[in-house]
């Protein structure tokens, strides 16, 4: 503290610099440490019970009756994958089509109007999507297609809409990042605008588009509130698109409030399984997009 006064100016600056650097480092690592704490906590709480009853009975068991000590997560694993796949089937074509229209086939004015609206869509809380699903979509499905309405289909549609803003805004950014010379060159060679999109822009923007799909997938598999509200949450592998389904996230949120003892641990184990699935999906997706980026 008590530095001789002549040197103090420079010293103070250096000290401040170090302090700021240290402070930033601490803040930066606190984000990382939160991740570490969460991982350690979930794995620590969830794995003992998986070891006790055997990994196989957890992952491959199809009966989820915690009160009878049956903790089969297979229906929920399949359910999560079904619903996520359904969301992508609905969200990706619509999202990409919208992104292409916005970048290639619309005037600046239209783009300036539509893009903020789509970004606004991302700000709507998931409970609102769920509520709209319950009020409008579920009765519609029940009356027109049969079944209880609360179903794989309803969850896929709601999640498909929820991932649209992610897919659209990242795809738009990556399509806009393609150098104008590519577009001009293609059109100069006599290609139509659609041919240009299909054969030049799309391949050039591929890694960004894949990234948008990965992020959309992440949002769909992690979504809880909207899924609980429209999926019906039956702990059974759905036999059709119109049957109810329970995802891993719903399983945790649905039963968390009253769960004690091993039931509670089994919900943490559900979290571990979800964690691993997300890591595996992300790794696969990243690997494919990295591989493609290398070979243009």
């Amino acid at each position: 503290m008590d530095v001789p006064s002549k040197k103090s100016g420079k010293n103070r600056l250096e000290r401040n610099d170090r302090l700021v650097r240290l402070a930033l480092l601490v803040v930066a690592f606190s984000a990382v440490s939160v991740l570490v704490v969460i991982t350690v906590f979930i794995v620590g709480q969830g794995t003992p019970i998986m070891v006790k009853y055997g990994l196989k009975s957890f992952l491959a068991g199809s009966n989820w009756y915690p009160s009878e000590k049956l903790f089969g997560l297979w229906p929920m694993i399949v359910g999560s994958l079904f619903v996520t796949a359904g969301a992508l089937v609905i969200g990706v074509p619509f999202g990409l089509a919208c992104a292409i229209v916005l970048t290639e086939f619309s005037s600046k004015r239209v783009r300036r109007l539509i893009k903020p609206v789509i970004e606004l869509l991302a700000g709507i809380p998931s409970v609102v999507y769920g509520f709209m699903g319950v009020i409008i979509l579920v009765p519609f499905i029940r009356e027109n297609f049969g079944g209880p309405g609360l179903s794989v289909l309803a969850a896929s549609i709601v999640l498909g809409i929820m991932i649209l803003p992610t897919i659209i805004s990242i795809s738009v950014d990556s399509l806009q990042a393609v150098p104008p010379s590519y577009r001009e060159g293609s059109i100069a060679l006599g290609a139509t605008r659609w041919q240009t999109v299909k054969m030049v822009l799309f391949p050039a923007a591929r890694s960004g588009i894949i990234a948008s799909v990965i992020l959309g997938m992440g949002r769909a598999i992690g979504e809880t509130m909207a899924t609980i509200m429209v999926a019906g949450n039956a702990a059974e592998i759905p036999r059709s698109l119109l049957a109810p389904v329970r995802t891993l996230t719903s399983n945790i949120a649905l039963e968390m409030s009253y769960a004690t003892g091993e039931h509670r641990e089994a919900l943490f184990a559900t979290g571990v399984v979800l964690f691993v699935i997300i890591m595996v999906l992300n790794t696969i997706a990243n690997a494919t997009s990295a591989k493609r980026r290398k070979q243009p």
Binding site: S62, N63, W64, Y65, P66, S67, E68, P75, V138, P139, R142, G146, G147, P148, G149, L150, I228, G232, N233, A234, A235, E236, A243, P244, R246, L254, E255, S257, Y258, A259, T260, G261, H263
Partner: protein, 265 residues
């Protein structure tokens, strides 16, 4: 400069300290457990504290199992349970403070108005899947149940299902309100909720020839009745005893009746 954050923290701590102490001193008695009992316990606590302004009664939810555990560990003096005690929970003292009917509900437009409890059991086991077999329309039955761990599900399991499992394909929701909401909008759904929560949006089935009402519960013809329990470690004493005495008094039981539950005999 560097002292300032510490000063702020210190002054904050000083400011909060008396507040904590005051909050702590108010909670002479803590109840925790079943969310089915919680609204009624809140009402009891409110009226009780009006009469005894020097008492602080704190009511928390968490579910029957959590409340029983909290009572065993000493985290609360009174645990609230909407299901019977089982296994190692049985060493707690239990006091029945009210009774609640369990209603099996359908959409008001459903022509089926009565069923046998055995049929309800078959429906929830997944063996009886069409309303036609109960004299209704030729439509699949949408079965709605509560999640594992819920006291209402526990009571239904015990009273109707016995050792039979509720089938996996049943739609599962996490509150009485959501179950009622789904059945109010699905003409082919069936589910179970607390009798006190049945409203004009849904219809309670007549079971084994007895309409679900207070009279039939009183004379024992309506079978789906569960006790609402207070549990404590050993005989309740002090504040806990005063509160339980109030709950069991004529005034406390009258409150129960007004709020839609059934008083103890």
């Amino acid at each position: 400069m560097r002292v300032r954050p510490a000063l702020i923290l210190l002054s904050l701590g000083l400011a909060l300290f008396p507040a904590c102490r005051r909050g702590g001193a108010r909670a002479d008695l803590t109840l925790a457990g079943s969310t089915s009992i919680q609204p009624f316990a809140d009402k009891w606590a409110e009226v009780f504290m009006e009469a005894h302004p020097d008492y602080g009664v704190n009511v928390q939810g968490g579910g029957s199992s959590a409340g029983i555990q909290a009572c065993k560990s000493g985290a609360c003096q009174i645990g609230m349970s909407s299901r019977d005690l089982k296994g190692d929970e049985k060493d707690l003292v239990e006091i029945v403070v009210a009774r609640d009917g369990l209603a099996v509900i359908v959409h008001p437009s459903n022509p089926v108005r009565a069923a046998k409890i055995a049929e309800i059991k078959q429906i929830f086991a997944g063996d009886l899947r069409n309303w036609k077999l109960l004299g209704g329309p030729d439509r699949a039955i949408t079965v709605v149940t509560r999640e594992e761990g819920s006291g209402t599900r526990g009571a239904f399991q015990e009273l109707v299902m016995g050792k039979t499992r509720i089938f996996r394909g049943a739609i599962t929701e996490d509150s009485n309100g959501t179950v009622r909401e789904i059945i109010a909008h699905d003409p082919y759904a069936v589910g179970f909720i607390s009798l006190g929560l049945v409203n004009e949006q849904v219809l309670a089935l007549e079971l084994d020839g007895a309409v679900a009402n207070d009279e039939n519960i009183e004379n024992g013809r309506y079978k789906l009745v569960r006790p609402f329990l207070f549990v404590s470690q050993g005989e309740p004493t002090g504040h806990a005893k005063d509160f339980i005495d109030f709950v069991l008094s004529a005034e406390g039981q009258e409150l129960v009746r007004k709020e839609g539950l059934l008083p103890i005999r």
